[in-house]
Structure formats: structure tokens, C-alpha cells
Symmetry: C2
Amino acid sequence: MQERIRAWMHEHTEEAVQFLSALVQEASLSGQEAEAQRQVADKLATLGLTVDTWEPGGEELIRHPYFCSPRQLFSGSPNVVGVWKGTGGGRSLILNGHVDVVPPGDTSRWTDDPYSGKVADGRVYGRGTTDMKGGNVSLLLAIQCLKELGVQLKGDVIFQSVIEEESGGAGTLATVLRGYTADAAIIPEPTGMKIFPKQQGSMWFRIRVRGWAAHGGTRYEGVSAIEKSLLVIEAVRSLEQKRNETINDPLYAATPIPIPINIGKISGGDWPSSVPDLVVLEGRMGVAPEEELDAARRCLADALMRIEDDWLRDSPPELEWFGAQWVPSSLETEHELMNCLVDAYRNVTKEEPVVEAAPWGTDGGLLAKVGGTPAVVFGPGTTALAHYPDEHIEIARMMTCAEVIALAVLQWCREEK
Amino acid sequence: MQERIRAWMHEHTEEAVQFLSALVQEASLSGQEAEAQRQVADKLATLGLTVDTWEPGGEELIRHPYFCSPRQLFSGSPNVVGVWKGTGGGRSLILNGHVDVVPPGDTSRWTDDPYSGKVADGRVYGRGTTDMKGGNVSLLLAIQCLKELGVQLKGDVIFQSVIEEESGGAGTLATVLRGYTADAAIIPEPTGMKIFPKQQGSMWFRIRVRGWAAHGGTRYEGVSAIEKSLLVIEAVRSLEQKRNETINDPLYAATPIPIPINIGKISGGDWPSSVPDLVVLEGRMGVAPEEELDAARRCLADALMRIEDDWLRDSPPELEWFGAQWVPSSLETEHELMNCLVDAYRNVTKEEPVVEAAPWGTDGGLLAKVGGTPAVVFGPGTTALAHYPDEHIEIARMMTCAEVIALAVLQWCREEK
């Protein structure tokens, strides 16, 4: 069977590249996913899957404790799910990928149009190729291949093309609330073909540090919010160190800081010769795979409370959680889906896979935490190219990934539950 | 004579308040000084002074090493100088005040219109009352009083109503280049009736600290410009400490930090979950009364060069001097004008004056450094109200100041050179 899969992939490379190229040409930014989703839904229908297209929304979604999105209305932004029903009794599998892409940024830094979908040097170029339409195409290829080779699976395969991953996972949350769960899930985010059974979660925070304004010439009459923010930054640094000292998971052995706390933005003061009375820090807090978001939130709040400084005791830093969040996720490395994937990887590549913990979150956290569907992340894209100019994907890797996933699906879904 | 001066002031308080109120109602922001200057010129003409009104400009001004202004054209922004010629052989005196005011800022924080000129509770309210039209009115009152009391002075009195003090002194520099110098000068900036023979200079700086961008989840792959900027802030702090340890002037005895270096603004990074690759700091460096601006500039540049950090050695902080500067100024406390002022203050108030060094610069630095006219700063306004909402001046203090200055002028200008 493995030989037949490989041959099929070989024959369908050009078709796959054309499909990816067309999908990339649809700039499926948040709010503009409809046309790309139509292409995906058409493909699923052609493959004979039962297609479910709907616009997420409603009170259950918006009021859900894990709902996190800058918008509450998703009209024109459908989710698409395609179900390949098994013959029964087998293990089901969700194959989940997001269709939304991040904005291109400064387009002058792109060699071509960000949505060119250009094919050159064995690569497809454009926003979303690596993150993660290339991965989605790997999933679709795996399904199409098994279908066309006449495979019958016992368990269901549930393909999901979701919106809103980049802003916190409202699309995937909506699939769970619609009833889509399974015995496990694969998410082909750009791991560079590494296998990530665990994923770091993350949350964005904002800290306001207050001072007292004065003229710069008599700065001793004021309290500099910049100087006080240094104490806050030090406290965050030392909290990061403390939290990471407790991480001894071997999956993090190669990671210098498993769950970093990044301060990404600072701004304060409005005049060179005034003592600044406000500094705002914004950052991203990493959450350990087995940690609760709330526990991590408390860690940071406590660290800010414990800063030993008379001024900050009276005017404590104000902590706010805002913007996106990604729920962490953890699958035991001995999980049967891991075995399926690792075996498939070895068989296809003749190499040993790299198994690590992801330094970023995916929708896998929501699948696991809310849907009870444990997830593993494995995809053909390159982490470092995601969100960058001249984003692209290696076609050969996309095909290899499809081959590995086809084998893993075969092994997982043909087994009895 | 002192009794006659006091009686005259008493009789002319209402007239003075009306004049100040009208002057404040002219919003003489940079570029909008013409109407206020016309009022001043009319007043000087009425008093019988020789009035010189001109718009500064030309190569000599613009190319002057001490020229500092955000603009190079001053059409519609005249300087006004009025000369009261002495009988000859006496010491001359410049009485210098600026007519430009800073913007009102957030007008919702003002109780009345910022240019109301409202009179209430023994005060006149409005932008420029304290800084420094109230002081200018004290000067004009002193001249008018001595004139109307029939005083004949040996030395010339040169009254100057200048533009552009708030942005670096181009107006006063233009008076010097036009030939106006004297044996000494009084500037009634808002000292709260303290006498400042020395004034701190200041300059604005901008420091760019570079890092290396990376994703926040793998922040160890980048270099945080925020973390590197902490080293820069520490270096600035320790330079400030070192510089201030060398100041042992008794005039600074009551000043916690005689020449502070204030970091007033910080901004860096553009995304919470990215490692910031640039932080920009902006601040104000205090310059000691006897120090050269260039020497102070070198101090900061050297301190930044000496930071011990491998990254900053390869990507050194970029230092830029921008915006306004004020030249420092220093008059010996035993100078004869100091004696005149201190005596006059004692005689008028029956109290001992506070003699200190100013924590901020004035146009006195330019008068002294470029014009060779040593200056002392003494005025009725309140430092803390300058540039703030609901700026106002105590009418009684403005009158007392006028009385002190009238006596000092009398004593200074009646003496032989």
C-alpha cells in the first residue's frame, strides 16, 4: 500500500500545486475567507465527503469562556467541514487546518505580489503557503489518495478548514460547539516536519506602570514611570526564569526557554523634558502544555504584586489580558496516534522524526481542552517563514507530508476503537 | 525714592492688570506673536522709548552656531526692543522677556478659556501669565514708574520683548546679532521671586537602541531592544550620578540633582509576541552653568560607548541631538547687579532673598555667551504653573517684583561705569 500511495502522490504533484496556487491567490484574511472556503468545499464535495459549511456565531460561541476574537460576527466567514464516514467501529480522526492568513505587512519587502501563488524553484510562494494552506493541501491529498486507492476506513475522517486561528481560534471552537470531536487530531501547522505532541499556549498581556509627572530639570520632584517599568521588566524576567526552571520535560531539552515571557512593546512619556507618568508594556506569556491559562495569569499577577518598591506598592502596576490567546495542549508521547505518525514518518522518509514541544500554540489546545480531542501538530511549512515576506513552501515537503499523513490515517482509522 | 516708587505702584496696579490681561488675550504662540508685540511696541512708544521692531532672519542668524529653532523664517513674528537712552557714562542694563507662549495642551483641563486673561482672587489667569508676560509687565512697570517719577539714569535701559524663547532662543540671539548688548541683564522668568545668578543649560537627545527581531515564542532567537535599552538607561543613570558628584556649588546645596539627565520618552516594538528590534529613547540633558554644550554632548556619547555588552559593542546605540537647547549661564554671586537686586529685594520685602541656581535654562545663556551680557533671572511667576493648565500669576507678586526691579535699575544705571 505504501508503494501505491507514493506512486499516487508522484502522479498528483502538479494537480496539488495548482490547487494550492489557486487557494493562495484567494487572500483569505480575516473577514475575507469566503472564496477560499468555497474552493475547499468544492474539493471536498468532489472527493465525495459530506460537506458542512456554516458561518460561526451565536451566544454559545460568543459567551464561551475560551472564545477569543477581535470580532463577534462572522458573516461572510464560513467554516467548512467535510466528513468521510467510516464503516464503523474504528478510531476517528480530525484533520484540522486554518484557512485564514495574516496580513502581508510591508508589501515592498515582497519580491512578488503577496498573493501571487507563484511556482518557482520547487516552491509555491505567497502569504499562507507555509502557514498553512500547504499543510491543508497535504491533508486533502491524503484523503483524496486513500479514496482513489479504494481504501475503506472503519473510523471517520473529519477534515476541517477553519477561520480565525490567527486571532485565537474562534473557528475551531465553533466546530467543537457544532459537535465535531474525534478520538484524535492532526494539525499540519508549519513544524518543518517535526512532530509536536505538546504545544506551548500563550496569552497577551498589557501592564500599565504609573509615575508622577514633573519637569525634567527638576526630575527629582517626579517619579519616572520609565524607571519604575525597569523594576516591572526585571520582575517579569525573574518570573520567566523561575517558571522555566520547573520545566524538565525531555521534549523541551533542545529549547533554551521552554515557556518564554516576551515583552514586545514599550511606550511611555510624551516629552523629552518631562518626567514620564505612564509606561505601557505589552507582551506574550508562554503557557506550559499542562498548565491552565488561569494559573499562568495568576503567576504574572503575583509577580507584579511582589515587587519590593514603595511607589509600586502604592501605585501597583495594572495588569490586563487582551488580544489573542492560544490554549496549550499536551499529548503523551506514547499515544497511539504518535506511534502511527512516527511509524509513517520512518517508513516514508527512512529517517527518525524529531519529536519536540511546540514553541507556539495552535487550535490543538481548543480541540483537546474543549472538544476532548487530543491533537498532534505535524506539517510541511517552515516556522521561520510564517508571517514573513516571501513566505513559501517546498513542494516536495508538502507531498512527503501528505504521504506520511495518508499512512498515519490508514493505520489509525482502520483499527477498531 | 523707595516710598515714591511704592506709592506709584499702588496707584498703577489696576492699569497694569488691564495691560497684562489684554496681552494674555493675544495667543502669542510661535508664529502668532505680531499682535501682542504691537501692544508692547505701542506701550514702549507711549513711555517715550526708541522702539525697534523687526522680523529676525537672514544667514547670519540661521547659520549661527547657537541658532536653534524649528523654523528658519520669522515673517509675522517680530522682535521688539525699546531703548531708554541714559545721560551717558553709566552702566547699561538689558531687561529681557519673551512674548511667545507654549500651546495650551488639553483645553478641557482648563477651567476657563486658556487665553481668557480673567482677573479673579488677586490673580490673572491664562497661558503666558506666569511664563512670562507677568514678568514682562513687571519690567514695563519699573520703566514707566522711573520715567513718570522723573528719574534720569546715566546708563541705557534696553527693554526686549523677544520671540522663540520656548524653542531655543532665536529671538534673543537675533537681538544680540542686531547689536544689543549691555553691562548686565535681568530676565523675569518665573522664579517664584528667587534670584538665580546661575542657570542650568539643557539639550534634547534621542538614542536608538537596536535589537534583532524574532517570534516571542522563541525569543531566545532574537535580541530584545527593550532589554538592551535597560543597559542604556542604566548607563545614563550612572553618568548622571557621576556628573552630579562633581557639582559642589553652594547655590546647588538645596537641589537634589543639580544637572539631571531626564529620559522623558521611550518607545519600541510593534507587536506583543515579537522580539522588539528597535527602542527609541528621548530625553533632556542638564548642562552645568559653567559647562560647554559640546563637553556635555561628549560626556553622553562616551558613556554610551563604554557600556560593556557584546551586542551593543557591535550595534552601538545611536545618539542624536535634536529639538531645543538652552545655553547655560553663570554670574558670580558677588557681581554688582546681584548686590543691587539683593539690596532692592531686602528693602522692598524686608526679607532675605533666596539665591539659587536655576534648574532650567533661559535666554540668559545666549545673552552671556554670545552677547557678553551677564544675566540674572528673577521674576514673579511660579515655576510649577508654567506650561500647565490654569496657569496664573499673583498680581501682588507682579507688583512687588516691579518695585524690586525699579529699585535695582535705579541703583545699577545711575552709577558711573
